[in-house]
Amino acid sequence: MCGACGILAGTPDWVDGAGTRDGVERLAERHKRIKLVNSLLAPAGVRLRDFGGRLVLQSATGRTRIVTDLAHVWKAADEIGRREIDPLEGRG
């Protein structure tokens, strides 16, 4: 597991940042992160959704992947999206 696994995986990791958060703040952070992630996924036609704690990637053609952490999100998005994710290529 690389250092990119964080709050989406429910593990304390670098994406969580240093320090502690309570449950409400963690949840808010999670939602905020999903929005930010989706802004990078948009050019690939992929969207991340939170289904009761389960994170699902869905492409424009209906392909889906259950993902566990941020690193997994990018990898799965490359697999089902219409193009590879690249933060240098601009966002949707």
Binding site: G3, A4, D13, K32, R33, L36, L40, I85, L88
Partner: protein, 348 residues
């Protein structure tokens, strides 16, 4: 028992790694050090990982524990820890890994950080790169390995300075300042306390992060404009550049982390180093970031700022990436995450 710090000693062929190692081991701090050496002069450790030729650890006369890494760095490190646990060798308080001159240090870093057992027992403390001042310019220009070794270093150790003029040494210092602005440069010939100067403050020791940040910042120009250094014959895919990014406003940690994770996914092999401090909302001190390619040290909250400047400052060393694109991408992403901007742009 705390994790034992590991120092990776690297440097181009003939740059004085073994001489430096011997000096370090003869100092007080080196008495309790275990040493792993890749004895194959022309072959990088990463190429040897498949060869099942582990050597037993032996105790040398000077008290150091020396083990030749003939097969697998991971196995060598594990054997070292196991031998200590069994009482076969004395306890040690530091591991020094000397690489070959042509080694890419990154696989070594990955070996140390990817293995759960090693992560639990050992801490990647820092990477020291020896620089032969007589040949540094030519090696850095001509050999990608030499350039990567210098770019990835936490400490740059100048060797053979007694054989060069002051002007030559200064030119090398300037060159290294462009290649790796965040790494302190130590003249090993002039140093009377080499262990202290090179290893006294480990780059990744959580208890010494504030000191480390102070060292970095002393080398990052105060000019708010990004500083770009370019070298390499052309803007080819292997051209390396170092540059600084500065944010005057607070940086949203979540946005930064998401952007960084995507960058690591897509361009991890091209992000040689990222070091810096981030001023994040709700925190009295900065968050300190230290990354080597796709390995990111756990971020640390510092209790207070190491200097008066409260802006976020990041130093990037990249290979084959356009600094301006990286800078613009990061700044736009962080800006879009600001509450007003997110509302305005409807970030989804």
């Amino acid at each position: 028992m705390g994790r034992i710090p590991v120092t990776v000693l690297t440097g181009f062929l003939g740059s004085g790694k073994t001489t430096l190692l011997q000096r370090l081991l003869n100092e007080e701090g080196g008495r309790g050090a275990a040493v792993l050496i890749n004895e194959f002069g022309a072959v990088g450790l990463d190429h040897l990982l498949v060869r099942p030729m582990a050597m037993p650890a032996v105790v040398l006369q000077n008290g150091c524990i020396c083990c030749s890494v003939r097969s697998d760095l991971k196995t060598g490190l594990r054997d070292l820890v196991d031998a200590r646990d069994r009482g076969d060798i004395p306890a040690f308080d530091r591991v020094l890994v000397e690489t070959t001159g042509l080694a890419d240090p990154v696989p070594i870093v990955q070996t140390l950080t990817a293995d759960a057992m090693l992560r639990h027992q050992l801490l990647l403390a820092n990477m020291v790169t020896t620089i032969d001042v007589l040949h540094a310019a030519g090696q850095i220009d001509s050999h990608r390995e030499a350039l990567r070794q210098a770019a990835l270093a936490d400490r740059l150790a100048l060797t053979k300075t007694d054989l060069a003029s002051a002007e030559e040494v200064e030119l090398v210092r300037q060159r290294l300042g462009a290649v790796n602005p965040a790494a302190p440069v130590i003249d090993t010939h002039a140093s009377n306390a080499l262990w202290h100067d090179l290893l006294g403050t480990d780059a990744s020791d959580p208890d010494r992060m504030a000191d480390e940040a102070r060292i970095w910042l002393s080398r990052v120009p105060a000019d708010p404009a990004p500083v770009f250094a370019f070298w390499g014959k052309d803007a080819s895919s292997h051209a390396m550049r170092s540059f600084a990014v500065r944010f005057e406003q607070k940086v949203d940690w979540t946005a930064f982390a998401v952007w960084l994770s995507a960058m690591v996914h897509r361009h991890g092999s091209r992000l040689l180093r990222i070091k810096g401090l981030l001023n994040v909302p709700g925190s009295p001190g900065p968050i300190l970031l230290n990354a080597v390619q796709n390995f990111i040290h756990p971020p640390q909250h510092l209790d207070q700022w190491p200097d008066e400047d409260r802006s976020s400052r990041l130093v990037f060393i990249v290979e084959g990436l356009e600094p301006e694109r990286v800078r613009r991408s990061l700044m736009e992403f962080v800006e879009a995450a600001q509450p007003q901007a997110a509302q305005r742009q409807g970030v989804q």
